[in-house]
Each structure stands twice: as structure tokens, then as C-alpha cells.
């Protein structure tokens, strides 16, 4: 037996047991996302590695949103609040959904990816999956690009529906 504390007691006390979609939650650091990108790039190459990280983040984000908002569509304001709160509570930073529609939208990571220590591919994937779930579509339905704009307080992301 561990000399410290029972495992279940530790998990209960940790209160991080469940992520939004009821998957087991793991506490890491924001740098873990950069390390995941590094692992992916070193394992299969730069472009495919970044793309794979994006797709994986998209799928996980999609699942989280589908679990949090299943069934009937929520009002847009509720969906936006859910996305922003989900992102914030994860400790990833502050994401503001500036615009949202069936065809896409615009979001801003305040402070920027660099300050947050998060690869842009991860934010792009998060938005792609969340928007797909909110629109009642499947992962892969939205493309997301990072854009720059004057007077932005962080990194802007443009979400556009494919096809």
C-alpha cells in the first residue's frame, strides 16, 4: 500500500476527477500541450504532427461539448458562455467568443497563445470541436485559422464552416 494516502481519497479530495464529458481528468500544466506538440512533431513530422494534435484536440473538445449540451440546441448565449467557462475552468486561459453563427464565428484568446504557453493548434482544435458540437455537426466541419487584427488584446481565431 502507498505510504501516503488512499488513492480514492486522494481523487475525491482532488475534485478533478471528471472533466466536462465525464472522462477522467488529469492535472498537468499548460506546457503539457507544447510537449504534446513536440512529441507529435518528433514522432511523425512537423506538419502531420501539428495536424494530428489539432484533430485530436478537436475530437476531445467535441465530445466535451456534446456531453455538456446534449439533445436540444441551447440558446447561442448559453453555448458561448459554456465554451468560455469550460476553457477558463480548465486553466487554459480566457477565451472570448466574439461572434457565433451556424457558419462560423470569431474568438479571441486574451493575452495570446504565447503568453498562455499554448500551441495555436490546440486553441484551433478546441474551437473547431466546440463549434461543431454547437452547430449539430461532426468534427471536421469547421476550419479555424489564427488571424491578427489591430487593437486585439490577444490572438484572434476565425472559425469557418467547411463546404
Amino acid at each position: 500500500m502507498s505510504a501516503s494516502i488512499p488513492f480514492e481519497q486522494a481523487l475525491d479530495a482532488g475534485r478533478a476527477r471528471r472533466y466536462l464529458n465525464a472522462d477522467p481528468a488529469v492535472v498537468m500544466s499548460r506546457e503539457s500541450l507544447s510537449f504534446m506538440e513536440e512529441a507529435a512533431v518528433k514522432a511523425i513530422g512537423s506538419a502531420p504532427g501539428a495536424e494530428l494534435l489539432f484533430q485530436t484536440m478537436e475530437d476531445v473538445s467535441y465530445r466535451a461539448m456534446k456531453w455538456a449540451a446534449p439533445g436540444a440546441p441551447l440558446p447561442e448565449a448559453d453555448i458561448r458562455a459554456l465554451m468560455e467557462e469550460h476553457f477558463r475552468r480548465s486553466g487554459l486561459g480566457r477565451l472570448v467568443i466574439q461572434a457565433m453563427a451556424a457558419g462560423g464565428g470569431r474568438a479571441e484568446l486574451l493575452g495570446g497563445c504565447g503568453n498562455a504557453g499554448i500551441p495555436a493548434a490546440c486553441v484551433r482544435g478546441y474551437l473547431a470541436g466546440a463549434f461543431a458540437a454547437a452547430a449539430g455537426r461532426m468534427p471536421g466541419s469547421f476550419r479555424v485559422r489564427k488571424d491578427t487584427a489591430q487593437n486585439a488584446a490577444g490572438d484572434l481565431f476565425i472559425i469557418e464552416a467547411r463546404g
Binding site: L11, A16, P24, V27, E31, S32, A40, I44, Q55
Partner: protein
């Protein structure tokens, strides 16, 4: 007194208004375990079958570096120092304290099976999140890259040169894995000179 670490660990869910979780060195985040598991599975499926070992080595090396930096930040934090104080400042006490924190953080239910200070560490894990990869991916080889990286990092930090020079002074080999059919995970850490 280990409960202090758990108490602190329980506070990590509380991000501030800017989405920051500032304790234990700051920059923490809460992620679904499936993010890492799915990424590993997809990387191994995508890698050239003739070079799958190289892909695993790349993942393992990245994990080792990350765990070294994470563990250093945590161990240097006031929260860890206070919570681990009762366990003593000896390496074994700090090691046990860190393992209890890893339990609270969802990494593993692990214990020190053997420790020869400065030479060898054996960790047994009855449960660890990386074992869940077996639900969708069959492997004859152990795949707990994060836990392996963390075991090696702990020895680097406790017994090797001061951070950051001590990285990779020890190497961890996972000799048993729940994900490949064993009853528990076993992680054997030895110094590079011992190889």
C-alpha cells in the same frame, strides 16, 4: 500531514477569472486523460511500422523533458514544500509526497517499491491513467510514457545535478504494464552509469 498536499491539490480546480490556476508553480491546467491517450494511439498508428520504435522513443524523450520541468516547478513551490515538510526533507520523503500528489492529480496510484538513494528506484503502480489506452489500442509494449518520464525526472531532481543540468541523468524503463496485460505497472529507474 500528507493531507495538506491533498488539500492544496483539491484547490487546483479553482481557476481565477483569467483562467489561471496559480498554485504548485503556476500554469496548471485540467485536461481530459483521453487527450493524451488518443494522441499517443494516433501517433503510434500513424508512424511508419518500420520505425515505430523511433516514434516511441520520440514520445518518451519529449515526456521525460516535460516531466522534469513540471516536477521541478512543483517541488520548488511553497505549497509542495509546506505539504511535504512532515514527510521530511530526505529524498524518500519528498518522493512519497510527490507520489501522493500524483494520485490527487489523477496520474497514478503508485508507491515506492524500492529505493537505493542515488542509484535505483522501483515504482509500482496499481492504477494509472495511461493504462486506459488498452481500451482502444493493443500493445505488447508498455506505453506509460508520462509516468515513466515522471519517475525518471524525480530521480534526476532528487539525486542528480541541480536543475536544469540533471535532466536525463537517470533513465526509466517500464518493465510491466497494465496496458499490456500485467497486473500492475513497474517502473525501474537507474543511473546512466548503471546501464
Amino acid at each position: 500531514m500528507m493531507a495538506n498536499l491533498v488539500t492544496y491539490a483539491s484547490m487546483m480546480c479553482d481557476a481565477d477569472g483569467n483562467g489561471s490556476i496559480p498554485i504548485f508553480g503556476g500554469g496548471l491546467c485540467i485536461l481530459p486523460s483521453t487527450l493524451w491517450l488518443l494522441l499517443v494511439e494516433r501517433l503510434l498508428r500513424r508512424a511508419d511500422p518500420m520505425r515505430s520504435g523511433a516514434a516511441e522513443d520520440a514520445i518518451r524523450a519529449a515526456a521525460a523533458g516535460y516531466c522534469y520541468r513540471l516536477a521541478h516547478g512543483v517541488m520548488e513551490s511553497p505549497e509542495f514544500m509546506e505539504g511535504a515538510r512532515a514527510a521530511g526533507q530526505e529524498p524518500r520523503g519528498r518522493l512519497e509526497a510527490f507520489l501522493s500528489l500524483m494520485a490527487a492529480w489523477g496520474w497514478a496510484d503508485a508507491e515506492t517499491a524500492f529505493l537505493e538513494p542515488g542509484k535505483k528506484l522501483v515504482v509500482h503502480a496499481r492504477a494509472y491513467f495511461e493504462a486506459d489506452i488498452r481500451d482502444t489500442f493493443q500493445s505488447a509494449r508498455p506505453l506509460a510514457f508520462m509516468l515513466s518520464g515522471m519517475c525518471g525526472a524525480l530521480m534526476d531532481l532528487l539525486f542528480a545535478a541541480p536543475f536544469p543540468r540533471g535532466l536525463a541523468s537517470f533513465t526509466c524503463t517500464q518493465t510491466r504494464g497494465i496496458e499490456c496485460g500485467d497486473r500492475y505497472g513497474e517502473f525501474v529507474v537507474t543511473g546512466k552509469d548503471a546501464l
